[in-house]
Amino acid sequence: MRYIPITEQDRRQMLEAIGSGSVEDLFADVPETLRFRRALRIPAALSEAELTKHLRVLSDRNADADRWSIFLGAGCYDHFSPAIITHLIQRGEFLTAYTPYQPEISQGTLQALFEYQTLVCQLTGMEVSNASMYEGASATAEGILMAHRITGRSEVVVARTVHPEYRQVARTYAAQLGLTFREIGFTDAGTTDLEAVKQGLTPQAACLVVQYPNFFGGVEDLAPLAEAAHAVGALFVVCVAEPIALGLLKPPGECGADIVTGEGQGLGTGMNYGGPALGLFATRERFVRHMPGRLVGETVDRQGRTGYVLTLATREQHIRREKATSNICTSESLIALMGTIYLVSMGPQGLRAVALQNLRKAAYAKERLGSLEGLGARFDGPTFNEFVLRTKKKPAAVLKRLLKREIVGGLDLGRFYPELKDCLLVCVTEQKSREQIDALATALGGVR
């Protein structure tokens, strides 16, 4: 086996040094009744060439976004990823390092994560970011648990325009601790109903959770929502599932957010059938000791040189065990590095430019598709790179017809919203050409 360098001769010498007759002796502590005496039922080993061929065949059975026209978003976005990202993260020094417990020989990871924390603060307008969480949904659930710890309250008020899977994850987490949920509906603008929010927020509310832009692509006006949450002493949790939007939109930190959670996958990390992704988590300085996850801080060495370390670890499971702020250990450092390289490559100009292309292309598609017979925009509020289309025919039937032209036209919203079972969620990123949008319009025109 090419990954195992110990030869038969090595083995003999080593066993001799150990004073054992055989490798079998090294398992003498496993009771005979518990020994597994047959071969594992796993296919025989493949050579590298056979493996590559086999996986090529499997991967070709998927519809990739290069060959197909795919208008899916809904929490996972097809953005262009500069080639340098893949090259840099495959440097063995980054790829094959563990969590930086020994700072003297982990300064590469630590400095990169310090830069990542800074970039997330700049993007979200918040004061502190951790060094990453798993992904958007569990990060949002942890944000809710943090609000519960800070306020001591157990009621969670969450907009129905938050990603349905994020709400499901939040419920799974919160149910363990007996937190209750109240969901707030949306208006015909496709954004959270502010009046309903005000009615739903009681003095028992730990937090108000909204998504920005929301699951329908709608751009929420955060400031009045923040005001409503703060009026009852609740924290305002803003979840960002599409970080590219923050190239244009006012950052949540400037709109009264106390905790910003979300998904960093859009920052050039690729779709990968949903993961690995990148959980964003940022907050205000005054809440830092309540935060989950790793934090990298700046300090000095014995000669006074600047360096970085994992810090404020007394919040964490390896020190505090059952009293920790979270159980999280391994998170998404390498994906955070991808996001870091993406953001510094784009810079202020690039980030704005790519956000603007998303906005314009989606606006073009919304106008173009919405004016087709049998179709129309479901909501009239402002949207970023996604929008909801109402269809006269059943969305499932519409989507099925499009598949023949190698187009995945969007997401059937009936899957998550019974009241929107005549609707499609369509996403258009900078990766879609006008030609592809026009082809979608033509195809949709044909399935009226």
């Binding site: 150990i18 020994r35 499997l58 290069d66 690995p276 040189r305």
Partner: protein, 497 residues
């Protein structure tokens, strides 16, 4: 002559490199975009102006080459498996095969959207389904959820399933038994599910004794969480008897599978009476650790817990493979989408590359390597549990403390010899623990070099203790002031002035 000069570790050209925010120049760019091919409406006409932001302050303006040089330079300040021996106990730092990186990036995998209709994702679903079968076979359990994102996430998921199981029987329980030697994530995951943690002591031989469990066991105990092999690197030889005791009182047996690398193909948790186990794909199954993730923590369960698995699961149908979210008793979701799919591809490729014989050989060799190190070093370092070990061995600094040289000093001095230190001060039940896990992918020559370095440090601790206490001497920077970092937290760069 002794000392690192004669063994390994060289100092090449090391660059100083400021933060990226301190570089670049206004107007410089590192990106390219195709021209916009749709009407170029002003943002203000599409979004109300009060919802728009100005330019993002502080974001650097650098060219592509500068970005590459910056991250290449700082990468050189890192130690990784690719550079040298990384015997970090409990972390299974084995070689990460490069072909796995290539296959994970095949467009059909990397550019597949998670909401593709199942018929357009058959390759991905087949891979997930097959990986589930392999992990079920290795663990000896019935079903495997590939959903959780890391080991601790898998623990949380497993404990949630246990809680849902007890609740479904109208028997909500309050407590979870956890040995004091357990990873901190075990109690933390239990607490997240509202359980009270009851610590269990290990016996004089370093394993949990049935008697202790029997005494702690009552009908309020939901489960016991055992790591096997445990964090001392020892096989919990009474596991079957313990499982029986716990089951008799209606409890469940959770196994932390962090150390599965020691036992693949040799003994199976399912055959010990374990009901739930999580597996760390970033340890046993070669997913690169990436400086702290991504990992994945699939959870294997017995059939009676399968109804509570998180959604979605992957099922084989008459026409192919499908995601299934229709599980009425499911605990729900613990993340968005199906799984950290890219991690699954790498671990799938790893398992297919080794096959059944290779997996067993990996476990045997990992155990051989650990026992070799343990036996070669036990004259120089205190070995609290002198018996055959599994994938790792745990020493302490008891001998070196006589010269006021601590575990931390030994760890730092190892860097001068070109090695990553072992895990230190864990497990907590061994004061000054040095936990060494070599894995199967190291050669005998590397192990011998490491042993020589450890012996040299033991000598230095007697003859030149100051040298060891001041280590490391070779890395670019010396020991960092962690107290200052925590007392005056600086957690982000800010523009000067």
């Amino acid at each position: 002559m002794s000392g690192p000069e004669r063994t390994v570790g060289t100092q090449g050209l090391v660059f100083e490199e400021p933060l990226i925010f301190e570089q670049g120049s206004p107007g410089r760019v590192g990106f390219s975009l195709p021209p916009c091919d749709v009407p170029q409406k002003k943002a203000e006409t599409l979004i109300p102006p009060h919802l728009l932001r100005g330019e993002i302050p502080g974001l650097p303006e650098v060219s592509e080459g500068e970005v590459v040089r910056h991250y290449t330079r700082i990468s050189q300040w890192n130690f990784g498996i690719d550079l040298g021996f990384y015997p970090l106990g409990s972390c299974t730092m084995k070689y990460n095969p490069r072909v796995n990186e290539d296959v994970a990036r095949l467009p059909g995998f990397a550019k597949a959207h998670p909401y593709l209709p199942d018929e357009l994702a058959q390759g991905a679903l087949q891979l997930l389904w097959e990986l589930e079968q392999y992990l079920a076979e290795v663990s000896g359990l019935d079903r495997v959820s590939l959903h959780p994102s890391a080991g601790a996430h898998g623990e949380l998921t497993g404990v949630m399933m246990i809680r849902a199981y007890h609740q479904s029987k109208g028997d909500p329980r309050r407590k979870i038994l956890i040995p004091e030697s357990a990873h901190g994530t075990n109690p933390a995951s239990s607490a997240l599910c509202g359980y009270q943690v009851v610590p269990i002591k290990s016996g004089p031989l370093g394993v949990v004794e049935p008697q202790v469990v029997a005494e702690a066991m009552d009908d309020e105990v939901a489960a016991i969480m055992l790591t096997n092999p445990n964090t001392l690197g020892l096989f919990e030889e009474h596991i079957a008897e313990i499982a029986e005791i716990v089951h008799r009182k209606g409890g469940q047996v959770y196994c932390d599978g962090a150390n599965l690398n020691a036992i693949m193909g040799i003994t199976r948790p399912g055959d010990w009476g374990v009901d739930v186990i999580h597996v760390n794909l970033h340890k046993t199954f070669s997913q690169p650790h990436g400086g702290g993730g991504p990992g994945a923590g699939p959870v294997a369960v017995r059939n009676h817990l399968a109804p509570f698995m998180p959604v979605p699961t992957v099922e084989k149908t008459q026409t192919g493979f499908a995601l299934d979210s229709d599980r009425p008793q499911s605990i729900g979701r613990v993340r968005s989408f199906a799984a950290s799919f890219g991690v699954m591809v790498r671990s799938y490729a790893y398992i297919r590359s080794l096959g059944p014989d290779g997996l067993k050989l990996a476990a045997e060799t990992a155990v051989l390597n650990a026992n070799y190190i343990m036996n070669r070093l036990k004259a120089d370092y205190h070995l609290p549990y002198d018996r055959v070990c599994k994938h790792e061995c745990v020493f302490s600094d008891a001998e070196q403390l006589k010269n006021d040289v601590k575990t931390l000093d030994i760890a730092k001095r190892l860097m001068d010899y070109g090695f990553h230190p072992p895990t230190i001060y864990f497990p907590l039940i061994v004061p000054g623990a040095l936990m060494i896990e070599p894995t199967e992918t190291e050669s005998k020559e590397t192990l011998d070099q490491f042993i020589a370095a450890m012996k040299a440090i033991a000598r230095e601790a007697k003859e030149q203790p100051d040298l060891v206490r001041a280590a490391p001497h070779k890395p670019r920077i010396s020991r960092l002031d962690e107290t200052r970092a925590a007392r005056q937290p600086v957690l982000r760069w800010k523009p000067k002035g």
